[in-house]
Amino acid sequence: MSFNVNDLKPIIEAVLMASEQPLSVTMIAQLLTSETVPNKEMIREALELLQEDCAGRGIDLKEVASGFRYQAKQEYAHWISKLWEERAPRYSRAFLETLVLIAYRQPITRAEIEEIRGVTVNSNIIKGLIEREWIKVVGQREVPGKPELLGTTKEFLDYFNLKSLTDLPALSDIQDIDQQAIELERQLQLQVVTLDDNTREFVTENSEAQ
């Protein structure tokens, strides 16, 4: 199948609208690769036509440094900001679970979070947490791929009114149903106190848990 510019227009419009990032001409061409040899000239032409279509509408198709994106027109900013007054924003459960895992398991990689949660972590969640300044990249693991290590920030502690991470509830308090957990936590406390000789043992046990 080969496209003409009128076939391309709605596809590019749909893709740009659904994308969370601006898309460059090259990226758009790559998306269409499987179907046809992408013709960048035609993509540019379609983008220009889409830009013209925005006349009289509520949105613009803008070219920014990293590519093209749709944006609500500046003149409607007033009404858009009223959106937030109508509805208090909230975070998803996945967002909170990711945050809490980073708090309790830091420094932790994204892959490790995914392993514990059993589902993939959406990159927007990590991005959102970093934007909120609740987490940051604290380093990287020196293994293939050099995955980034995530940890919580001082701002995270401040927001939740904590002096230090150790002020977070002990896991045993959370799992009060599970008597075993309480028992285990108590044992661990004891272990720390009597750690002198058997430090090595404890560490081994602890790292097996990872």
Binding site: A14, M17, A18, E20, K62, R69, Y70, Q71, A72, Q74, Y76, A77, H78, I80, S81, W84, A88, P89, R90, Y91, R93, L96, E97, V100, L101, Y104, R105, Q106, P107, E115, I116, R117, V119, R132, V138, G139, Q140, R141, E142, V143, L149, G151, F160, L165, T166, L168, P169, L171, S172, I174, Q175, L188, V192, D196, T199, V203, E205, N206, S207, A209
Partner: protein, 269 residues
């Protein structure tokens, strides 16, 4: 929980399809090859589901189910199941008992005029029908368009706003509820032990990494604060060992008895 094993039953002719591979030979005479048994059990959502399947497979007039035959077949399944999954077998046993009861009532002398309500099979048939209606819609739901897979929200960048966009509020309780759920789920996956961790160690690990950002090398001793007492020293030591094990830091010593230094494993060479 939400992880689908991609097992579905295709209809007419009914056979189990496992990960795209047909097990056509499987239920010819209701004998299940032992190596396929577990897969076969997972294919069914319970005894009603299996019963529906048997009825279809046997091509039976539903009103003329040979209860004896079904019961025998059922007991075979149950025998096979007991070893594998007791809690599942219990539900199948109830069904087998129901079938046996129906059969015994059928054997009793019947009144002249029998109406539907007296027919012991009627209740079972009603339940089977009822279940099948929902089962069908459940299968349809899988193919209905849904967000994330077929439907994508169109959303545009915001213009510059005169008022700051408020950020969502979270309270600690909410965060703990999220953690509780993660822990419960992680509990079911035996390979994870989230709860054993000591937060103080975790916190220290992050602190050490941060300090290494500012200094290329840190003296080993600098990572310990005597004022923290023995517990604090132990925490710092465990944190160093954990970081070492996680390939996050390196310990270097240029010659015997020289000062020990810590550096980030990702240092520029």
């Amino acid at each position: 929980m939400t992880i689908d094993t991609t097992i579905q039953i295709t209809e007419a002719p009914s056979f189990a399809r496992v990960l795209g591979k047909s097990l056509l030979e499987l239920p010819q005479d209701l004998y299940i090859p032992p190596d396929a048994l577990e897969v076969f059990l997972e294919t069914f959502e319970g005894p009603l589901d299996l019963l529906l399947y048997l009825i279809k497979k046997q091509n039976l007039e539903i009103l003329d189910i040979s209860i004896a035959k079904i019961t025998t077949q059922y007991m075979e399944y149950v025998d096979l199941m007991v070893g594998l999954r007791l809690e599942l077998a219990a539900e199948y046993l109830v069904m087998a008992a129901t079938l046996a009861e129906i059969k015994s009532r059928m054997l009793l002398p019947r009144p002249e005029s029998i109406n539907e309500e007296d027919d012991p099979r009627a209740e079972l048939i009603r339940r089977l029908q009822e279940y099948e209606r929902f089962k069908k819609v459940g299968e349809e739901l899988e193919f209905m368009p849904r967000l994330e897979r077929d439907i994508f929200i169109a959303q545009v960048e915001l213009p510059e706003l005169d008022s700051e966009r408020p950020l969502p509020d979270v309270d600690l309780r909410e965060l703990m509820l999220a953690l509780q759920d993660v822990l419960r789920r992680a509990d079911m996956r035996a390979d994870h032990e989230v709860r054993r961790d000591l937060l103080s160690v975790r916190e220290r690990m992050t602190q050490i990494i941060e300090r290494l950002h500012n200094h290329q090398f840190l003296k080993f001793e600098e990572l310990f604060t005597i004022e923290e007492g023995r517990a604090g020293v132990v925490v710092a030591f465990i944190a160093i060992l954990e970081l070492l094990k996680g390939s996050i830091i390196e310990i270097v010593q240029t010659e015997p008895f020289a000062p020990i230094h810590i550096r980030s494993a990702s240092h520029e060479l």
